[in-house]
């Protein structure tokens, strides 16, 4: 869930597409947690919409006590002429207590970041370790970001949360279900009894979509693997590799 790009039937109004997308998301999170979660979908003429939870985050409870808060933002683009729906950006943040300050960690996706050296799918962790900050402060000159960080004035020390840990590029990044499952495994948050089936279903759906996208990125390689598996695969015309997506950070 929440990172797909797909073709949808022609002529559907933006509002329908947005609502369907948001409903799927709301159902997944609600069924995982075993509590009703409310989402808002904001759309504008021109084909863009955002889906976010209502009421300042979704409380994640441990033994009934609200300990963490999950914040979900998904930015989608719907091109009704090309019948194409794509996630342009997403941000899943987990806060301690309430939504303020720095999240404990955040999983972000930017389809086309302004800085192409920033991993399009990345994890940022709100943590501190002296050695890490010290190394960041050295800031070598091979990267503009590192150089800028090293030039920070005293009192503006670099932070671990500024570091974008890569997560596998546009196709192999984690989905929301991975993050939900992680909060259960690592923090022991309260979930519905059948949480595992919700996660399995969501992961399968997400990964199938990503496999399809990955095949479109490198059809020749996909055909070679299928041939190895015994399938008869033949292209009517040679297919081109999407080098941009295959090499994207």
């Amino acid at each position: 869930m929440t990172g797909f790009s797909k073709e949808v039937p022609d002529g559907r109004p933006l509002q329908d597409v947005a609502e369907e997308f948001a409903t799927e998301l709301a159902d997944t999170v609600s069924r995982f947690l075993g509590q009703e979660c409310r989402f808002t979908c904001s759309a504008i003429d021109g084909g863009r919409f955002n889906v976010a939870e209502e009421n300042d985050g979704i409380p994640l409870t441990i033994d009934g006590q609200p300990v963490l808060v999950l914040s979900v933002d998904i930015y989608c683009y719907w091109d009704s002429r090309e019948t194409y729906l794509a996630v342009e950006a997403s941000s899943f943040k987990v806060f301690a207590g309430r939504q303020q300050g720095e999240p404990l960690f955040r999983y972000d996706f930017l389809r086309d970041p302004a800085n192409r050296n920033i991993p399009c799918a990345h994890l940022q962790i709100g943590a501190h370790r002296d050695e890490f900050t010290h190394a960041l402060g050295y800031g070598g000159y091979t990267s503009r970001r590192a150089k800028t960080r090293a030039a920070k004035p005293p009192g503006r020390a670099p932070k671990i949360s500024e570091v974008h840990f890569p997560l596998g590029g546009p196709r192999f990044r984690p989905c929301l279900e991975d993050i939900l499952a992680m909060t259960r495994e690592e923090f022991g948050i309260d979930t519905a009894t059948d949480w595992a089936s919700v996660i399995d279903k969501g992961r399968r759906s997400w990964r199938l979509k990503q496999v399809a996208a990955a095949v479109r990125d490198c059809p020749e390689e996909a055909a070679r693997v299928l041939q190895d598996l015994g399938y008869a695969v033949e292209a009517s015309t040679p297919a081109q590799e999407n080098t941009r997506r295959l090499t994207q950070a």
Partner: protein, 63 residues
Amino acid sequence: MGTVTVETLTAEQAQAERRRLLDELGMSMDELEERAADGLLDAQEFRVWRRVRTLDWLLQGSA
């Protein structure tokens, strides 16, 4: 099981909401962005920062 509210905005409505939120808070979006980068947003600032980012993103794509 989940509940979804869908709101469809015009560009004018989005711009008006953006202005109102920032006016009520008494801060510019640049100031909010700076506080966000430093992890200093309080709950109210975070709410406005997040909503304005959404509105800006929507407005970028409006016809």
